[in-house]
């Protein structure tokens, strides 16, 4: 059985999945930079080498994400919301009905039908509040790696509020809190609550739970807890939540 490759050309990262018969064999990620197709091809090359295959073992490359039109050799181009739905539905064993996806510069909520297709969706407008970019900005400002956000926010004991509608205002608030000596963990916990409020505003009141969270920020346990608290429902996260969209793209390739 030939290999299927999914490439998600996102605004902050390029994610690639190599799959065979619906099973993920390899995942790779690199930061988005000019020359996206070249970066993606390099990523595919390293994946194939790691698996011991050559390009002739590949059935096709499905491309999705903001940059999908920049990849000239795509076998098929897939809309990223549809790919997200298909990927998470399959990886959740057909259980997912509601998804929150936090991407580099957008925040989406999806409602799936019983076949895993998109029944409805909502997406934030052009502000970066509540997106991956918001977390990156906070990490730089607080001089704290993103990987440590979850652990740090658990130490917070205050109930600070951060702006959830404008990333620029939220940044000013963070600067102001830092200058007043507010501990980082309190600011990070406030940031998680701010993103959770933003997501909750998008989500339908009658959205069936549990809610599946994916995208890079889904690995942040502090955010997951804040979302559970805000939405009053269980949040489930897959092992590699950043690759569900790329995996979903592979499902669009014909057998």
């Amino acid at each position: 059985m030939k290999l299927k490759i999914g490439v998600d050309l996102g605004s902050t990262a390029i994610k690639t999945v190599i799959a065979q018969e619906g099973e993920v064999l390899w995942r790779g990620r690199t930061n988005t930079a000019p020359g996206q197709e070249e970066h993606a091809l390099r990523l595919i090359g390293s994946g194939l080498r790691a698996l011991g295959f050559a390009m002739d073992a590949v059935a096709g490359i499905a491309v999705t994400g903001y940059g999908k039109k920049l990849f000239a050799d795509a076998s098929v181009r897939v809309d990223e919301i549809g790919a997200n739905a298909a990927g998470l539905f399959r990886l959740s064993g057909g259980a997912a009905r509601t998804i929150i996806n936090i991407g580099g510069q957008d925040l989406k909520v999806l409602r799936l039908d019983e076949n895993g297709r998109v029944a409805d969706f909502r997406m934030n407008d052009k502000c970066a509040a509540g997106t991956g970019r918001f977390f990156e900005l906070a990490a730089r400002l607080l001089d704290t790696p993103l990987g440590g956000f979850g652990t740090l926010s658990r130490r917070a004991c205050q109930d600070l509020e951060l702006n959830s509608t404008c990333v620029v205002f939220a940044e000013s608030e963070m600067v102001s809190l830092l200058s007043r000596g507010t501990p980082r963990e309190e600011i990070i916990a406030a940031l998680h609550r701010s993103v959770a409020r933003r997501a909750a505003r998008l989500l339908w009141r009658d959205a069936p739970g549990p809610v599946w969270l994916d995208g890079g920020p889904a690995r942040n346990a502090g955010l997951v807890e804040a979302l559970e608290d805000q939405l009053m429902t269980e949040i489930r996260v897959l092992e590699e939540p950043q690759h569900t969209v790329a995996y979903g793209a592979t499902l669009a390739l014909a057998e």
Partner: protein
Amino acid sequence: MKHAQSANREELFHRKAERKMAAESAQLLAALRNREDYRSEFDAFLELLSDTSDAAAARRSGRPVLKLLCVQAPLELIHAAGFHPFRVFGGSLAAAALAAGNLPALTCPLLRAVLGELRLKASPAAGWILPTTCDWVVKFPEMLRLSGVEDSPQIEWLELPRLKSRPDSRERWLTEIWRLKEFLEKLAGRKIGRKTLLESIGRYARAAAARQKLREARIEGRLSPLWFMLVMSAFFLDEAGGWAARVERLLPALTRRRENSGGRIFLAGSPIVFPNFKLPLLLEEAGLTAVADDLCSSERLFPGTLTTGDGSVFGLVSALAGSYHQGCLCPVFADNERRINNILNQRREAAFQGVVLGVLKGCHPYDLESYSLEEPLKAQGLKFIRLETDYTQEDRQNLLTRLEAYRETIRNAE
């Protein structure tokens, strides 16, 4: 380098905005001429849109202009008095930027652009007829002053009753229209007689018939939604009969074309004003075909043919008043259920599968009404998406992502 003096700077701002505005229009017009479905018969409209000023409209119509912002003032009455009703354009990003100072941050982009364009090319002699529709329009004279366009604009207000179904509202509106007639007669220095009014009504009936043919051509796939919108955009740049004649010459040239395969949709929401065709262009890019709309800048630009059994001046004016008030689907009305019915009725004719509702940031009536439209339309099996945007291009990719996913929800439902 020596800094320019303030008067000089103002001049420089104006020149820069003028250049950018011209480039916006020229870019769109050139793109339209390069399309596969371009026909030389479209030139009659492209030529009109090469100058969207009130001065150009006055020159082409051979009449003094009265400026409008909304669609509730009876055009037939204005024409019968010897004036050319001209709905000002407000679709330029550069013009909106020019008017940015002294206005609230979330000012309706359309009015912002109107103010910018007026700063550059308004004819102060031409007065305004303004129905009291949304809050932005009510505050428009203040905005004219604050943005340095006109200190004491000549405005004839029409107080618009917001409850269409109440009988006293109809009477109040009729009084307003009767007062408008007297105002126009005083301005023109002559009475509006039955014969002139009938002639004017006939002229607009011809335009309505031409629009109906255009609608049919769009539904049948002989005219793309983009060209439909462009032809409608040129309406106020010629007198109604002249525009209708141009459409009549265009119609035989329209032949069946390949339709986008992504799905047929109804386009609703805030007006889309030339040259800001961002949303229709994105719809096309996403493979969606807007086969019908209820935009007051497009299909709803003027009401349908007037029907009345009373041919007296009073009867005609009463019928006009009713048509422009009772028939209006603007979201400023408190009782606007007809808007949903209109969409559902059009669905029978145009066979669309979903509704795309575009809201301009700051356009509160359309924004609010979008939420009350969503559930009933979904309950009727229509896919619904609401897109909020402004005149900038930076959210194109975000909007396109949504439209592509929306197209898939339509396909999935088939």
